[in-house]
C-alpha cells in the first residue's frame, strides 16, 4: 500500500506539470494586455518599460520556469516562515528565515521577491490565504451537511426499494441534480429573504462573532448558501449511496447474515452499509474539488468574498498572476483528492490489492 501511495504521488508530478503548462499556455496565448487599463497618454516606450518591470519582456519559457519556482519554492518558504512566526498552531517553533536571501550590496538578509497581483500590488498568496477561510466555512459546511442528509436518504430508499419514499427521494434528488445553483440561489433569496424576511440575502464577510446574538446572525447568513450547495451534494451522493446499497442488498452474504439470525438492523447498518460505503467514500473524496469549482457561482450569488469570487474579479481585471495561481490551486486540489480517493479505495476494500 505504501509503495502504491508513493508511486501515485510520483506520477501526480507530471500531471501537475501538464496542467501548469496548459494554464500557462492558455494565459500566454490569450490576447489580453495588463497595460490595457493604463491611460492612453502614457507613451508607448514607457508602457514597454512597465511591461518589462512586470516580467513580461522575458521569453515564455523563462516566465514559465520563474512562475514554477515562485509557486513551488519561494511561496512555500514564506508560508513556513509565517507559520513559525505568527500562526497559532506552529507559533511556538523557533522562527525560521527560509524566505530571506543574502543581499551582497546591502550586506544583510532581505526578503525574496514574491508573486505580486497586478490589481493590488500585494503578494497573491496573502490574499488567497485571507480568502480561503470564507470559502472553507461555506463550502465545507455545505459539503458536510449535504453528506449527512444524503447518506440516510440513500440508505433508506435502497432498503425500501420502489416504495413511496424511494420514488419521492429519487424524484427530489433528480430535481436537485437538475436545478442549477444560479437558479436555486435567487429562488431561495426570493422566498426566504424577500417574501418571508427570515434570512439575510447577502453574506457579510466582515461580521465578527463575539456573542450569542452575533453567532446567531452568522448562522442565519450561512443557511442560504449552505442550502444551495448542499442540495447539489445531497442529490449526487444519495444517488450513489442508493445504487451502491442496492448492489449489496442482493448479495449472498446478506442472505447468510439474515439466515444466521442477525437482527435486521445489524444486517443493514453493519454488514451492508460498511460494504456499500466503499465506493461512496471515494465519490465523496472525488467531489470535494468540484464543489469548490461550483462554489464560484454560489459565492457570486450571495456575495461571499471567497476564492471563487477572487478568481472572477481577477479575470475581469486581467490580473494574470492571480488567475494563474487560483486556477492552479484548484488543479492541485483535484489531483490531491484523486490521489486520496485512490488510496482510500485500496485501504477500505481488502479485495483490492495494488501491489
Amino acid at each position: 500500500m505504501l509503495t502504491f501511495t508513493i508511486r501515485r504521488l510520483i506520477t501526480s508530478i507530471p500531471t501537475l506539470l501538464f496542467i501548469s503548462i496548459v494554464i500557462f499556455a492558455l494565459l500566454k496565448l490569450a490576447p489580453g494586455d495588463p497595460m490595457a487599463q493604463v491611460p492612453l497618454t502614457v507613451p508607448p516606450e514607457v508602457k514597454q518599460k512597465m511591461r518589462e518591470a512586470l516580467g513580461l519582456g522575458a521569453p515564455a519559457y523563462v516566465q514559465y520556469f520563474k512562475w514554477l519556482n515562485q509557486f513551488f519554492i519561494v511561496e512555500p518558504q514564506f508560508l513556513i516562515d509565517w507559520m513559525t512566526r505568527d500562526s497559532a498552531l506552529f507559533g511556538w517553533l523557533p522562527d525560521t528565515q527560509f524566505s530571506m536571501m543574502y543581499d551582497p550590496e546591502l550586506q544583510k538578509l532581505v526578503p525574496q521577491q514574491r508573486t505580486i497581483s497586478y490589481q493590488t500590488r500585494s503578494p497573491i498568496m496573502d490574499i488567497v490565504i485571507q480568502r480561503i477561510p470564507q470559502t472553507l466555512w461555506v463550502v465545507g459546511l455545505a459539503y458536510v451537511v449535504g453528506i449527512l442528509i444524503a447518506l440516510p436518504i440513500g440508505i433508506y430508499s435502497a432498503y425500501r426499494h420502489y416504495s413511496v419514499f424511494d420514488q419521492a427521494g429519487t424524484f427530489i434528488t433528480m430535481v436537485g441534480f437538475s436545478i442549477p445553483p444560479f437558479f436555486t440561489g435567487p429562488l431561495l433569496i426570493v422566498i426566504f429573504s424577500v417574501s418571508l424576511g427570515w434570512l439575510p440575502s447577502i453574506y457579510d464577510t466582515t461580521h465578527v462573532v463575539e456573542n450569542w446574538a452575533s453567532f446567531k446572525y452568522q448562522l442565519s447568513q450561512m443557511i442560504l448558501p449552505v442550502m444551495v450547495l448542499a442540495l447539489q451534494t445531497t442529490a449526487q451522493i444519495s444517488r450513489y449511496m442508493r445504487a451502491s446499497m442496492l448492489d449489496n442488498l442482493n448479495q449472498d452474504y446478506v442472505r447468510t447474515a439474515r439466515a444466521k439470525g442477525l437482527k435486521e438492523n445489524t444486517v443493514v447498518m453493519v454488514h451492508v452499509l460498511r460494504n456499500s460505503m466503499i465506493p461512496v467514500i471515494t465519490v465523496i473524496a472525488l467531489g470535494v474539488p468540484s464543489i469548490f469549482g461550483g462554489a464560484i457561482i454560489t459565492e457570486n450569488v450571495f456575495g461571499v468574498n471567497g476564492i471563487g469570487q477572487l478568481l472572477i474579479t481577477a479575470l475581469f481585471a486581467n490580473d494574470t498572476p492571480m488567475v494563474m495561481t487560483i486556477t492552479f490551486i484548484f488543479a492541485i486540489m483535484i489531483v490531491a483528492f484523486n490521489l486520496i480517493a485512490d488510496v482510500l479505495y485500496g485501504v477500505l476494500d481488502p479485495r483490492i490489492r495494488y501491489d
Partner: protein, 325 residues
C-alpha cells in the same frame, strides 16, 4: 423430468422449421422498455416540446424580441392579475415585458433557441471527440496508453475555472472575426466540447475493448475487412447505446454550463438573450419582478430535468439485462 422427455418427438425437434413470425426488431424491444419509465417518457416529450417551441415559436409568436417599447415597460405577466388587480398587464404581452419594454415571451423563445443550439452543438462536438478517442484507444493497442493518459490528464483539469479563463480571454479576437454572437457561439461550443468528452471516451473504450475480442470481429477480419470498415460497420453500431446515454448527459451539462457562463457575465453579449443571461439580468430587480427570474430558471431546470430523465430511461431501455423485466 422423465415425462417431459417422452413427450418430445425427436423427429420434430430435428426438423428445420421456419420461425412462425419474423424476429422482433431490437429497437422495438428498447421502445417497449423505454415506455415503462414514466419519467423518461415525460422527459423525452418535454425535450421534443421545448425544441419544437424554440424552433417554430418565432413563426407563431412573431414579435421581435429586441424591439424596445419603452411606453409598455415593466408589464407583469397575465397571471399576476389573478391576485393583484392593480398590476399592469397587457393581453398582447402574455409573459409581460422587461425594463426596456421587450416582450418576455419572444425573449424566452429566442433565449431558448440560443441555449438549445449551444447545448446540441457542444454535445455533438464532445460526443464526436469522445467517440473518436475511445474507439481509437480501444481498437489500436499502440494508441491506448497515450490516449488514456491524455484522458486522465484532461479529467484532472479544473474545468469551470478554465472555462471562465478561456471565455474571458479569447472573447475579443473571436468577436472581431465572427461577429459578437457568432464568435461567442463558436467559443462556448468549442470550449464546452473540448472539456467534456472524457467520460464518453472512457465508456466507449471499455465497450470497444470487450467487443474487439468477439467472434464477429474475428470473422470480419478473417475475410480481409480493413480496420476502417470494421470500426464503421461493426464496432460503432454496437457502441451506440452508451453513446446515446452519454449524449443526454452531455446535453444537460452543455446547457447548464452555457447558462452558468452567461450568469457570471462572460457569455453572450448583453443584447442577445439566452436563458442564463435573462436570469442574471433579472436578479437585481427580482423583488419587484420575480417572474423574470422564475421563467428562464424554470425553463433551464425543466429542460435539464427532462434530459436527465431521458438519459435514465435510455440507460434502462438499452441495457439488455434489465430489458423485459
Amino acid at each position: 423430468m422423465t415425462d417431459i422427455s417422452t413427450e418430445i418427438d425427436p423427429y420434430a425437434a430435428l426438423q428445420d422449421k421456419e420461425p412462425a413470425k419474423p424476429p422482433r426488431n431490437q429497437w422495438l424491444d428498447v421502445w417497449d422498455q423505454f415506455k415503462k419509465h414514466k419519467g423518461a417518457v415525460f422527459g423525452g416529450g418535454f425535450l421534443v416540446f421545448i425544441t419544437l417551441a424554440v424552433l417554430l415559436g418565432p413563426y407563431i409568436w412573431n414579435v421581435d424580441p429586441q424591439k424596445l417599447d419603452i411606453r409598455n415597460k415593466d408589464v407583469r405577466p397575465l397571471w399576476t392579475a389573478l391576485w393583484n388587480s392593480d398590476a399592469k398587464t397587457l393581453w398582447h404581452r402574455p409573459f409581460g415585458t422587461d425594463n426596456l419594454g421587450r416582450d418576455l415571451l419572444a425573449q424566452m423563445i429566442a433565449g431558448g433557441r440560443a441555449s438549445m443550439a449551444v447545448g446540441w452543438t457542444a454535445m455533438l462536438l464532445s460526443l464526436s471527440i469522445g467517440t473518436a478517442v475511445g474507439v481509437a484507444a480501444g481498437f489500436f493497442k499502440r494508441l491506448d496508453g497515450l490516449l488514456m493518459r491524455m484522458t486522465d490528464l484532461f479529467l484532472s483539469l479544473p474545468i469551470l475555472p478554465l472555462l471562465l479563463v478561456a471565455v474571458t480571454l479569447f472573447r475579443q479576437p473571436l468577436r472581431a472575426n465572427f461577429g459578437p454572437e457568432g464568435g461567442m457561439f463558436i467559443l462556448i461550443v468549442v470550449v464546452v466540447g473540448l472539456t467534456s468528452w472524457m467520460q464518453t471516451a472512457r465508456i466507449v473504450r471499455g465497450e470497444v475493448l470487450a467487443l474487439k475480442e468477439r467472434e464477429f470481429i474475428l470473422a470480419a477480419r478473417s475475410i480481409g475487412t480493413s480496420s476502417r470498415a470494421i470500426i464503421m460497420r461493426h464496432l460503432l453500431p454496437n457502441v451506440i447505446s452508451p453513446i446515446m446515454v452519454s449524449a443526454t448527459l452531455g446535453l444537460a451539462v452543455a446547457i447548464i454550463t452555457e447558462s452558468a457562463l452567461s450568469f457570471l457575465g462572460v457569455g453572450f453579449p448583453s443584447d442577445f438573450p439566452t436563458w442564463g443571461k435573462m436570469l442574471a439580468d433579472a436578479v437585481p430587480r427580482m423583488e419587484q419582478f420575480p417572474e423574470r427570474v422564475l421563467l428562464p430558471g424554470i425553463a433551464i431546470s425543466l429542460t435539464v430535468l427532462g434530459v436527465n430523465y431521458l438519459g435514465d430511461g435510455l440507460r434502462d431501455a438499452l441495457d439488455p439485462r434489465i430489458r423485459g423485466r
